[in-house]
Symmetry: C2
Subunit: 159 residues, 2 copies
């Protein structure tokens, strides 16, 4: 019989090579599944996860931001941000404003339309958070975040 739930889920015949491999596959798989769930919710409101992410960053910042600074807060590679902003602009969710002091910089500003949409999405999103991991205790959630943050330290420090 399989040792772990993940091993059953992916019908893996052999046990995992290591605890490290198992943990990493668990991270990737859980993320894929959750990302998919959020994608379905967001689609009902006409936006993709990445678009929603950009809008949340802009709302959180409270003022226009250079586009590369937005990209920087996402894991995202630089060139992808351009098309993302293009589509948000086409939907009237953001405006581009060339900076007068440094004409290389493009400031991105969120629109009232987008803020209204986000406002409408806040509760459904909160509900999905609860649905997905509301069954974990506060201690488990804290442990989970702590372990994931520790996992990332191998990369955030150097490299």
């Amino acid at each position: 019989m399989p040792h772990s739930n993940l091993q059953q889920e992916i019908r893996k015949k052999q046990p995992f090579d290591s605890l490290e491999q198992e943990a990493i596959l668990n991270i990737l798989r859980t993320s894929d599944i959750f990302h998919n769930q959020f994608g379905r919710l967001f689609r009902e409101f006409g936006v993709t996860p990445s678009q929603y992410n950009v809008l949340r960053i802009l709302r959180g910042e409270g003022k226009p931001m250079p586009s590369l600074e937005i990209a920087d807060r996402m894991v995202q590679v630089v060139p992808a941000i351009t098309g993302l902003i293009d589509r948000l602009q086409a939907q009237d969710f953001v405006k581009r404003k060339r900076c007068t002091e440094d004409r290389r910089v493009v400031f991105i500003e969120i629109t009232a339309k987008a803020l209204a949409l986000l406002n409408q999405m806040d509760e459904p999103e909160l509900n999905l958070h609860q649905k997905l991991i509301g069954h974990l205790s506060a201690e488990e959630l804290s442990d989970l975040s702590r372990l994931l943050e520790k996992a990332r330290t191998s990369l955030t420090t150097d490299n």
Copy 2:
């Protein structure tokens, strides 16, 4: 001062709305970063993470598999598997074989060339696992896997 490391990383001004939100963002972000790291490693060998994933599933199974069964073990939505197999076939990493009994089914078989490539990649991949989360103790890794598996139970049971 920010309460969590994640809050610093994404330069979020406000604390998280909830432990649930923080945990979910930690899962998504860690996964993105790790996925990116594996992508870079795999690219050195000429394959993408998804392609590598398919080949690993085929090697693990030990015999040809229907394409939808491969898709099923990945989180992947069905239609994406077609193009994925197309490109693997173009690189001589898999062969398509129409099943004679049920002509709807296409069996996918891994080639010796792909097995040789996988063999060559085993050690580098193991090293990357170590590099990424080798600094977590065995207990931490077990806890992490256990918590992530528990997180997924909200979806694997029903829905």
